[in-house]
Symmetry: C2
Subunit: 420 residues, 2 copies
């Protein structure tokens, strides 16, 4: 066995990682430089075939479960131990980029290639996983493969999902030949790491190369409807108006005020607004809008939600207008495991990259993985924070750095992973 | 000549007025009880034929000008005097009511019928006018006939206007046989009165039967565009957001605050809002919205406009976001002539109806008539202030009262009208 001192100096090969990313991005490449590779499409099959072929070429075994998650395994010295797993997804948004998801899978493959070329055997086995349908663009729910794996919803529920043309997950998974026999979740995971572009601007703005991710924000989504009385802008004096937009805009501003009262991770967004009848000289009779509240702990998120309800109740009484506030979605915050966060933090320290903590505002398969195993994430910057867009871009040096952090964190975890 | 004491006791016949309104409302009647009679349509021709037929039956002469305005004349004792004119329009909105415009024309006809049946000769001639295309639903500009008459825009400009199928005003006016020979504006008017439903809730709320209208509010319309930066609601911390909606909502609230600073006639409305990309979990990158400011004098309206510009400039600096404010329309306030307002006020006092001053928030042909002759308006309540709607409704007793006020005001004016 190589010495630990030697392992600390081990580095992945950035150009090889980059080349794999570019090769995979050919499948579903768009004229604008992005990728359109919807889950369970022919292109998804081609991408799955390419990546699992690369894994086999590295001597890995490939196991597929009933929801199509692909586990690519490199044995360890002690194969009774649960594997240290990394991965992400290779499906994309309709106008997606080259890095979202793909980077997490190929950084894992690059770790394996690096260990192979240096002839390093790990204590526990290592695995790279490709989770099915993370994006949810074609089939909902999103994060489908990891969600079934961790029991967030059933296999039957996922199978029954259909795309807009009526094709089902079950049918499409069979069509592309990716229905495995393993029961989802019947696959031990000792620890889980996921590398990902940040999909936000924090690292780039701070000039940091690596984001240590302590948690993924929880969120609550609402639809809010304010009902006033539609009337003509000219003949109706101010005092007797029931202007739905004026009441709605007070709530829209409060959403941001609430987020600012719970720093540093409180977030409040009104993204969608519909005004009725939406005519220049008619006082709005009804306004419907979305509310998105996020924070890092259930307690903080609950306080934000309570503040919103209190404000809406108070505003309804004061204004005399009807205000309906309906919760349409809720995800609990996901704090990552201190061992995994610590392993990432130690790896960054060893490697000497500039770093900061960055919570994840967006959802990832790691949220579901964290329900069944100690988990952590590693973020690298993406250009201008732009993702879910064909112009999504990342610096090769940053991608290389993230994969080096992954390598060191996995090596650290394989030493720590005990027999199952 | 009958004595003035007798004239004070003269009253129109409410049921006859109501019957004429109901008869005219048959032309273009909708299943919901409204009227759809677009300008220069076959239905407009039928309505014009019906009303001018009624006028001829009362011994009136009918003159049509080149923009299709119809002047129906009852001679006076001294026909060198300019006529005292009343009227309005008989085109409707696509989903219009029975009273908007039609009441103004038929109240005038009812005045003539009343004078005829009592054998009363006036000093000056009287006329009832039907103005072409007040609504502007099919052809813009609105208030087309009165606008050409007073020189607000040219006959050629009006002729060139086309509907969505490409048919022109000139062609459609010829097709329905209502191109006259008289040059618009070459028609003296000694004084002009227009009765109209209020199209707002003020009279009904106050329990008053007659609104004396001192003025029509002026207005300025703007399009405002706030440009921020679109980004994901999750990964983007509050402090570095460029949320276009949050800046836009501040301006939307200020629009109302400005109106409230210039009472009692200040009005401020944001009726139309467009959020981009309008997605639940994306911070709005751009928000476009309309602003409608109104007041009773140019000075007050100018101060409101200045306040808006100041606030936008200040908000742009504070927020760092781009704000474009473009004026898209302006109508000057229209104070009515003190003689005409006084004649209406005196008539109401003589008749003993409950009354209050009500400014008009909406546009009327009287605004243009006021550019060429002393003018005034008489308002009656409409149910719940609703107009431009098939459920538009009015109380027959109120319509009768308004026509009685018109009768007395016209009699007063004909005595006051001097030879041209």
């Amino acid at each position: 066995m190589k010495t630990e001192l030697f392992l600390d100096t081990l580095r992945i090969k950035g150009p090889r990682l980059w080349q794999s990313l570019m090769d995979l991005a050919q499948i579903g490449a768009t004229p604008k430089g992005g990728v359109c590779r919807l889950a369970l499409s022919d292109l998804d099959r081609q991408a799955r075939d390419l990546v699992s072929g690369w894994a086999r070429a590295e001597g890995m075994t490939v196991t597929i479960d009933q929801i199509g998650n692909i586990f690519m395994r490199r044995p360890g010295r002690d194969n009774t131990r649960p594997p240290v797993v990394t991965g992400s997804h290779i499906d994309t948004q309709p106008t997606g980029g080259k890095f979202d998801g793909n980077y997490g899978v190929l950084a894992g493959l690059e770790v394996i290639r690096t260990l192979n070329e240096h002839g390093i055997q790990t204590e526990a086995p290592l695995e790279v996983v490709v989770w099915t349908n993370e994006e949810g663009s074609r089939f909902v729910p999103v994060m489908m493969g990891s969600g079934v794996f961790c029991g967030a919803f059933s296999l039957d529920h996922a199978y029954a999902a259909t795309d807009i043309s009526g094709k089902s997950v079950q049918g499409e998974l069979a069509r592309i030949g990716y229905v495995g026999t393993e029961v989802p979740g019947q696959h031990p995971i000792g620890a889980y790491f996921e590398t990902h572009i940040e999909q936000g601007p924090v690292l780039e703005n701070a000039g940091c190369v690596i984001g240590v991710v302590p948690a993924v924000l929880g969120l609550t989504w609402y639809d809010c409807v304010v009902t006033g009385f539609e009337s003509h802008a000219g003949p109706t004096p101010m005092a007797i108006r029931k202007d739905a937009l004026q009441v709605a805009t007070r709530i829209m501003q409060e959403v941001v005020a609430i987020a600012n009262r719970y720093p540093p991770y409180g977030r409040g967004t009104v993204g969608m607004v519909q005004v009725m009848p939406n005519s220049r000289n008619v006082i709005p009779g009804q306004v419907k809008f979305s509310i998105d509240l996020r924070n890092v702990s259930e307690d903080l998120l609950a306080r934000m939600n309570q503040d919103l309800h209190d404000y809406v109740t108070c505003t309804g009484s004061e204004s005399g207008l009807g205000i309906a506030l309906e919760q349409v979605s809720h995800f609990a915050p996901c704090p990552f495991h201190s061992d995994c966060v610590g392993a990432v933090r130690d790896a960054v320290a060893t490697l000497g990259y500039s770093t900061m903590d960055v919570v994840s505002g967006a959802g990832h398969d790691a949220i579901y993985a964290a329900r069944v195993a100690p988990s952590g994430m590693i973020f690298v910057p993406c250009k201008e924070g732009i993702s879910h867009n064909e112009i999504e871009d990342a610096d090769p040096a940053h991608l290389e750095a993230g994969a080096n952090v992954l390598l060191q964190a996995m090596l650290s975890a394989t030493r720590a992973t005990r027999a199952a």
